[in-house]
Symmetry: C2
Subunit: 297 residues, 2 copies
């Protein structure tokens, strides 16, 4: 019987160790490095790198191949949180129960620490050893391209722009979905794609894994909205009820709580179906899909 708790724990240790090795390798002790480490090691769930690793494992790939890209994905996720929290954006003072980067340091340092994490992500994912085959270099370029595209102005950044622009406006269900596909979905899909690609998945497997990723990515957001209503702030590490107070467009606001729950359930069923012909090496992906709707943080 597959034990997700054990799996998540061991994968988080692997990711955290790899992140620290990377930061230490660039052995630098200045204020910018402190700010990067502060936000990077603030206790995130590591969902994106774990999805990347699990996708790689699901097709029998070697984990060592994906660790740099997995770390890059977490760096990009962290940079996006640092910048989203800035006074000019969402103006958030707390994240995971701790002061946000610009509160702990200052605004200039937070902007630069975000920039530095984004840049470091690409430095890390372009690492190449002479003994590696040139064919791997071609795959790495594909991976860098996919990550940059998902994180860029046609993906995550456009999502954040739309999110800011839509505050106070009433979105349709389609517009809300489009926003989330960009803001969080694109990078989640890229995480799975990267793991599959470096794990030597064939094109059909990549297609199936990307369908899986799109469904769980959206479900993740629906559950986020639900937790903002009925979550426990002490477990979540952030306040609840904030979406309603800000009049934010959310799934529960548009569909109601019950329909949001069944919608997320349906998305997870679709995700599981997309990988149904994978063998038990895809069990981590299956368990992660369940975890996404059952989580309380």
């Amino acid at each position: 019987m597959f034990d997700l708790k054990d799996y998540l724990r061991s994968r988080r240790v692997m990711i955290n160790d790899a992140l620290i090795v990377i930061l230490d390798h660039f052995g630098h002790t200045g204020r910018i490095r402190q700010a990067m480490e502060y936000s990077l090691m603030a206790g995130g769930k590591r969902l994106r790198p774990i999805l990347c690793m699990a996708a790689c494992e699901s097709v029998g790939g070697q984990l060592s191949r994906v660790m740099n890209a997995a770390c890059a994905l977490e760096m990009i996720h962290t940079y996006s949180l640092i910048h989203d929290d800035l006074p000019a954006m969402d103006d958030d003072g707390l994240r995971r129960g701790k002061p946000t980067c610009h509160m702990k340091f200052d605004e200039a340092t937070a902007i630069l620490a975000g920039d530095a994490l984004l840049t470091l992500a690409f430095e890390v994912s372009s690492k190449f050893q002479e003994e590696d085959s040139p064919a791997l270099a071609v795959k790495q370029l594909q991976v860098i391209r996919a990550i940059a595209h998902a994180a860029g102005f046609q993906g995550m950044i456009e999502g954040q722009m739309q999110d800011i622009a839509s505050e106070g406006a009433n979105l349709t269900l389609n517009a809300l979905e489009a926003l989330h596909v960009l803001k969080t979905g694109a990078l989640i899909e890229a995480s799975v794609y990267v793991g599959a690609c470096l794990g030597e998945a064939d094109s059909l497997q990549i297609e199936q894994l990307c369908t899986y990723a799109r469904r769980i990515g959206l479900a993740f957001q629906v559950v986020d909205d639900i937790l903002n209503i009925e979550g426990d702030p002490s477990i979540l590490g952030k306040a609840v009820g904030t979406d309603a107070n800000r009049n934010k467009n959310t799934y529960p606001a548009l569909l109601g709580l019950e329909n949001s729950r069944s919608f997320s359930r349906r998305l997870i069923d679709d995700a599981l179906k997309a990988v149904e012909n994978f063998d038990n090496r895809a069990d981590p992906l299956r368990a992660l899909a369940q975890y996404i709707i059952e989580r309380n943080q």
Copy 2:
């Protein structure tokens, strides 16, 4: 006789055309794209991409090989200007005679437009065509790594941190040089390295070209400081005397004007010496070195 004016004009047209093709390829007309284009096409000198192209030409490389990386370098330079101008950093309202990005749009858009240009730089430089050889992919990874390292928290970003931290403090000449090596020197050196690397330079040529780049990079900064004292604001497109008003650490403040001039002259002589055994294909690099100390903008 080599005509630099003609050369600069033709290379700027090539870069500007390539930048527009890239933006149009990602055919998107939203506010973020507008802000990216506004700053990217605001009339910069294109020094970094032109150095990249000239380094490639100096070793007989094909220009078509470096155009994506050259555009990426200009995108990174532009993003750094957008973020440096933000209220939390240098708080500048004008750049090249036009409102800065956050003045023209707003702070959130400027932060995101900078993020988007940085991200797009890596999307562009990871472009790979199936007909290209895998050996080129290995070189492209080296290039991405060099650009990310130069732009990151051990290069340009650390330089900006030190620049902010040193306002009001009295730096030694060594500390001032170290700051500029990070803040502007690293990306200028990377520009030349990238052109050389993709132009198939051998390791001795790369070494000589990087020496050239380090000398002109520092000379560029010394001249910038001199122009801030005796430049013509209408030609420069920005105010003069601002360094003295802010008590900034500059070469003229530390060395005096005359010594700063002879220091920049010596740096350019060193740069020319580093490439003295190159043939006339290095004439653009030689002329660019002269241009750097003779420019008035």
